[in-house]
C-alpha cells in the first residue's frame, strides 16, 4: 500500500526554496534549549515536524537539508529519521490528509466502508492525492481511539464514531470548505457510554 510517509526516496519534482519562517525560527531556539548543548541533534524530530507544518504537510529536499544545517547534522542522518517515521511525509499531500484507521476494532466497526466512501467522495485511490489537491487518503494502523471506532484522522484532529453517512457529510463539507466539528460525530463526550445507562 502506498503512503507518502513510508517512502525512502526524496521527492525531487518539486523543490521550492525553504527558509524558516521568523515565527518558527523563534520556536527552534526554544526547542533546542531543551537539550544539552552538545546534543542538539536530539531536536531533529520536533524540527522535522516544524518544517513539515511550514511546508504544507510534507518534507521537501530543501526542508530536510535545512533541518540538517540547523542542527549541524549530515543530510543522511536527517533522512534516516524522516524515513523511519511514517508521520513524516516525503511527498506532497493534499490540503486534507485523511488517515483512516483500519486496525481490528475499527475494521470490525466498518472502516472498510469509510475507506470506500473516502475514495468516492475525494475522487482518489488509497495512498493518492485527489486531482484538486484537496485530499490525500491513506489507510493507517491503530491510532489509539478504539473506544470510538471507527475513526479517522484528518490533519491534526480525530473524527470518531463515524458511519458512512456522517463521514460522507464530513468530507463533502471539507470539499466545499465548510468548517467541521472534531471529535465524536454522535455527540458523546470522549469515550463515555454511547447510550445512557438505565438508572
Amino acid at each position: 500500500m502506498h503512503h507518502p510517509g513510508t517512502n525512502n526516496k526524496v521527492y525531487k519534482k518539486i523543490n521550492d526554496n525553504f527558509e524558516w519562517s521568523s515565527e518558527n525560527f523563534k520556536k527552534i531556539s526554544e526547542i533546542i534549549k531543551k537539550y544539552p548543548s552538545n546534543r542538539i541533534q536530539s531536536a531533529v524530530i520536533p524540527l522535522l515536524d516544524l518544517a513539515q507544518r511550514q511546508n504544507r504537510g510534507w518534507l521537501s529536499k530543501n526542508s530536510l537539508e535545512k533541518v540538517a544545517e540547523t542542527l549541524s547534522m549530515s543530510y543522511i542522518r536527517v533522512l534516516e529519521v524522516a524515513t523511519f517515521y511514517s508521520m513524516f511525509n516525503l511527498e506532497p499531500i493534499g490540503k486534507n490528509f485523511v488517515q483512516i484507521c483500519r486496525t481490528t476494532p475499527c475494521w470490525l466497526r466498518g472502516s472498510d466502508k469509510l475507506s470506500r466512501v473516502a475514495q468516492e467522495v475525494c475522487e482518489t485511490n488509497i495512498g493518492e492525492t485527489s486531482d484538486d489537491k484537496k485530499f490525500t487518503v491513506v489507510e493507517v494502523e491503530c491510532l489509539g481511539a478504539c473506544c470510538n471506532a471507527p475513526m479517522v484522522q484528518i490533519n491534526d484532529d480525530y473524527y470518531e464514531d463515524l458511519d458512512e453517512k456522517s463521514f460522507k457529510k464530513l468530507l463533502q463539507d471539507l470539499k466545499t470548505n465548510k468548517s467541521i466539528k472534531a471529535g465524536s460525530q454522535i455527540g458523546r463526550k470522549s469515550s463515555q457510554p454511547e447510550r445512557k445507562l438505565d438508572a
Binding site: 513510508t6 547534522m73 549530515s74 543522511i76 533522512l79 534516516e80 524515513t83 523511519f84
Partner: protein, 680 residues
C-alpha cells in the same frame, strides 16, 4: 579479576569485556554479522545469541551483553542452536539464492554460517523482497537485495572514515542502505566497506566477476602507496594482480587500507615497460640489455664517471638505493639524492625525518598540531587514527596550512608558517592547548619543509616539541613523508649536500654544466625541462612522464614482483614479498647496477640478494631487525629561528593519482573524475 564460566570452563576476564569477547577468550567461537571489533556495537543481527544461566529465560545477544562476574554462559546448548537456526532462517528469508553469481561466494560469512545453522529447505512461501541497487561511486558495487542490514558499512563510514555518507533509510521490511541521494562515498577509505560487508551486498566494482577466491594465489606483503607501509595481501592469478586486501596490523593500519592501495593495482598491468628501449635517431626503439649496457657504459666514460647522477623515486627500495650508492661511489661520483620534493632534514639527526612517536601513539594523543600536511591525502589510514583520537580523547587539532576538508574538526591557525614564531613565543591559545595536553604531538608534512627554510622550520618545530614533551618515552616530533622510499633512503645516506635547499636548481646547474648520465630510479616527479641536457637512463616499470625523455629505458619489476626492503615513516623495516614473476624482461635494479659495475670497474661484490642484504645490514645496522622499532626519544636539533611569511601550499594535488602506478590506473582515473572533479 572477575571470572565467568563458559561451556563449563571457568576463565578470568578483564572488566569491560562483553560476553562475546569472554567467549573468545575461552575459545568458543560465536557467529556474528553485525559485530566488528573496530566498530561500535549495534546488536541488530542477533546471530551471536548465547544462553545465560540464571539470566533471562530467553537467549541473549552476546556482543552487546557486558560480561559480569560469576555469569554462566552456554554457547552450544540446544536453546542456543535452536535460536541461531531461527535467526538464520529469518536472515535467509529475504536473502537471494544467487551465490553462484555472487562475488562474495567462497568468502561469505552468511554462506559459511548457513552451512552450520541453515535449514536445507525453505518454509517461506510469500514473495521475497527486492531492493533497488544504489549508486555508491566507482569503487563500491551494490546488490542491495543481498543486504542483511548489519549496518557495519554505516558505522564504518561514520566512525572510522568520518564521512556521514552511508545511512539506513526506512524501517522493517522497507529498510535500505544507501548514500544520500545516491551520491558517491567521498572517502579515501571507502573500499573497506567491501571487506566489512558480511554478505555480497557491497562488493568491489573493479573486481566484479573477475575471479573466485579459491583460484587466487595469496601473498602477504606490504603496501607502498604511502609512507606508512600498510600490511596487505595481494591476490594474483598468473601474472595478474587482481586484488589488494588489508591484513590486520595494529601497529600500522589496524584493519584498513586506503582506496589507492586497494584499487590502484589495475595500474600494474597497464602502461608497463616490459622490454629494453634505447633511443635511435631521436626515437625510442626496442632493444636488448647488452646494447643498452654498452650505450650507458660509453656515455658514462664520455661524460665523466664522476659526474653521473643517481636520483631515486617514490617506490625505490633499500636494495636499489644501496646498490646505486655503491655504484655511484665506485665511479667517484657523489651526485645521488632522494629528495625530489625538496623536503629538508637535519644531517646526523635521524629524528628529523621520522614519525618518531609511532603511528599507534596517535590514538593516545589529546592535542595534535599539523604543520603543512593534509594527512587525509598523504596517509589516509593514519588520518583515521587522528580521527580516532579526536573521537575518543576529544583531541584538539590545530592546522597550519590551507583549510581543507578533514574528517574531524580542527582549529585553523594560519596559512603561513610564520605562525610558528607566535607558537615559539608561547602566547597563543593553541600553546595553552599543547601545554595542557597529556600527550601532545606535532606532525610536519613535506609541504612545510620543502623550501630553503625547511631546516629552520624543522629546528623551530623541534624546539616547540621539546617544550611540550610530557612523556620522556614519546617523542612528539613527527615528520610525515608521503612515500615509502624516503626514510630508508635518508637512513642509507642516499643524499648529497650539493642538492640541499633547492634540489631542482642544483640539479639543473649540474646537468647544464656537465651534461652527465642521469639514472632515474622510478623517478617521475621531476621537472622534465631540467633533464634536457642529460643522458637519461630510466629504470622503472611504468611508461610515465620520465620515460618519455629517456635515452635508455631499463625495465624493472613493480612492488608486487620482487622482494624488497623498505623503511616506513616510523623507521620500521619492512620486507615485501614477491607475488609473481616480473613482466617481460624486467630485472631488479641492483642486478642492473651489478652488471654495469662489471663493465666499468668491478667494484660491486654482491652476487645475489642475500649477499646484498648482508652488505646493507653490515653497513647500516638499523636495517638488521625487521618489523621492530627502536623509537628515537631525543630531539637534538631544537633551535628557535625567526620564520618568514611562507604561505603553505600542499604538494599533493590528487590523492588518487600521484605516482606512476596510480597514474596508469583506470580505476583511479575514474575516481579522480567522479570524486575530485565533481566535488570541485
Amino acid at each position: 579479576m572477575p571470572s565467568i564460566t563458559i561451556d563449563n570452563k571457568k576463565i578470568e576476564f578483564e572488566n569491560g569485556m562483553t560476553v562475546m569477547q569472554a567467549c573468545e577468550l575461552a575459545g568458543a567461537e560465536i557467529p556474528r554479522f553485525c559485530y566488528h571489533e573496530k566498530l561500535s556495537i549495534a546488536g541488530n543481527c542477533r546471530m551471536c545469541l548465547v544462553e545465560m544461566e540464571k539470566g533471562p529465560p530467553k537467549p541473549v545477544a552476546s556482543c552487546a551483553m557486558p560480561a559480569g562476574d560469576g555469569m554462566v554462559i552456554k554457547t552450544d546448548s540446544e536453546m542456543v542452536k535452536k535460536a541461531r537456526k531461527g535467526v538464520m532462517e529469518f536472515l535467509l528469508i529475504n536473502h537471494p539464492l544467487d551465490c553462484p553469481i555472487c562475488d562474495q561466494g567462497g568468502e561469505c560469512d552468511l554462506q559459511d554460517q548457513a552451512m552450520y545453522y541453515g535449514f536445507d529447505k525453505t518454509r517461506y512461501e510469500e514473495n521475497k523482497r527486492a531492493v533497488q541497487n544504489k549508486n555508491m561511486g566507482p569503487l563500491v558495487k551494490t546488490i542491495m537485495t543481498r543486504c542483511i542490514h548489519c549496518t557495519r558499512c554505516v558505522r564504518f563510514s561514520t566512525e572510522v572514515a568520518g564521512v556521514d555518507d552511508i545511512g539506513l533509510l526506512g524501517r522493517g521490511e522497507n529498510a535500505e542502505i544507501t548514500t544520500y541521494l545516491e551520491k558517491t562515498i567521498e572517502s579515501e577509505l571507502s573500499g573497506n566497506v567491501i571487506d566489512l560487508c558480511p554478505v555480497g551486498a557491497l562488493t568491489s566494482k573493479p573486481y566484479a566477476f573477475k575471479s573466485r577466491p579459491w583460484e587466487l594465489t595469496k601473498t602477504e606483503t606490504y603496501d607502498v602507496f604511502d609512507g606508512i607501509g600498510s600490511s596487505i595481501r595481494i591476490d594474483t592469478r598468473g601474472k595478474k594482480v587482481l586484488r589488494a586486501l588489508p591484513r590486520i596490523n595494529e601497529e600500522i593500519n589496524e584493519e584498513w587500507i586506503s582506496d589507492k592501495s586497494r584499487f590502484a593495482i589495475d595500474g600494474l598491468s597497464r602502461q608497463r615497460l616490459d622490454s629494453v628501449y634505447t633511443k635511435l635517431n631521436g626515437k625510442l626503439q626496442k632493444s636488448n640489455w647488452d646494447h643498452a649496457f654498452s650505450l650507458i657504459h660509453d656515455q658514462i666514460i664520455k661524460t665523466g664517471k664522476q659526474n653521473s647522477v643517481f636520483l631515486s623515486g617514490k617506490f625505490t627500495d633499500a636494495e636499489t638505493l644501496f646498490a646505486a650508492k655503491k655504484f655511484s661511489e665506485s665511479l667517484k661520483s657523489f651526485y645521488y639524492d632522494c629528495r625530489f620534493d625538496n623536503a629538508q632534514f637535519i644531517e646526523n639527526s635521524n629524528e628529523s625525518f621520522k614519525f618518531n612517536s609511532t603511528i599507534q601513539e596517535i590514538e593516545n594523543s589529546d592535542a595534535i598540531l599539523l604543520i603543512g600536511t593534509n594527512p587525509r591525502w598523504e596517509a589516509a589510514v593514519l588520518n583515521a587514527r587522528i580521527r580516532k583520537a579526536f573521537l575518543e580523547n576529544n583531541c584538539q587539532i590545530g592546522v597550519i596550512g590551507p583549510k581543507v576538508n578533514q574528517t574531524y574538526r580542527y582549529n585553523h591557525l594560519s596559512d603561513s608558517l610564520n605562525y610558528l614564531n607566535k607558537l615559539s613565543d608561547g602566547n597563543t591559545d593553541f600553546n595553552k592547548v599543547l601545554n595542557n595536553a597529556k600527550n601532545p604531538l606535532i606532525i610536519i608534512g613535506t609541504s612545510a619543509i620543502n623550501t630553503a627554510d625547511g631546516k629552520k622550520i624543522l629546528e623551530t618545530s623541534a624546539a616547540l616539541a621539546k617544550k611540550i614533551q610530557k612523556n620522556k618515552d614519546i617523542n612528539p616530533l613527527n615528520i610525515l613523508y608521503q612515500d615509502i622510499s624516503r626514510v630508508g633512503a635518508l637512513e642509507l645516506n642516499f643524499y648529497n649536500k650539493y642538492f640541499d635547499n633547492n634540489y631542482n636548481l642544483q640539479l639543473k646547474k649540474h646537468i647544464d654544466n656537465n651534461k652527465p648520465v642521469v639514472f632515474l630510479m622510478g623517478l617521475d616527479e621531476v621537472d622534465l625541462s631540467i633533464l634536457k641536457n642529460a643522458y637519461v637512463v630510466y629504470l622503472g616499470h611504468h611508461g610515465d612522464q620520465s620515460a618519455s625523455v629517456a635515452d635508455v629505458i631499463l625495465p624493472t619489476p613493480a612492488y608486487t614482483e620482487k622482494t624488497s626492503t623498505y623503511m616506513n615513516i616510523e623507521g620500521r623495516v619492512i620486507q615485501t614479498n614477491k607475488c609473481h614473476n616480473p613482466l617481460g624482461e624486467a630485472k631488479e635494479e641492483w642486478k642492473i647496477f651489478r652488471v654495469l659495475s662489471n663493465l666499468i670497474n668491478h667494484q660491486l661484490k654482491f652476487n645475489n640478494l642475500s649477499e646484498l642484504r648482508d652488505e646493507i645490514t653490515k653497513n647500516f645496522n638499523q636495517f638488521t631487525s625487521i618489523n621492530e622499532l627502536k623509537p628515537n626519544k631525543n630531539i637534538t636539533f631544537a633551535k628557535v629561528n625567526k620564520i618568514d611569511d611562507i604561505k603553505i601550499q600542499y604538494n599533493i594535488n590528487n590523492f588518487y593519482m600521484n605516482d606512476s602506478i596510480s597514474r596508469s590506473s583506470e580505476t583511479m582515473a575514474l575516481c579522480t573524475k567522479d570524486i575530485l572533479n565533481k566535488a570541485a
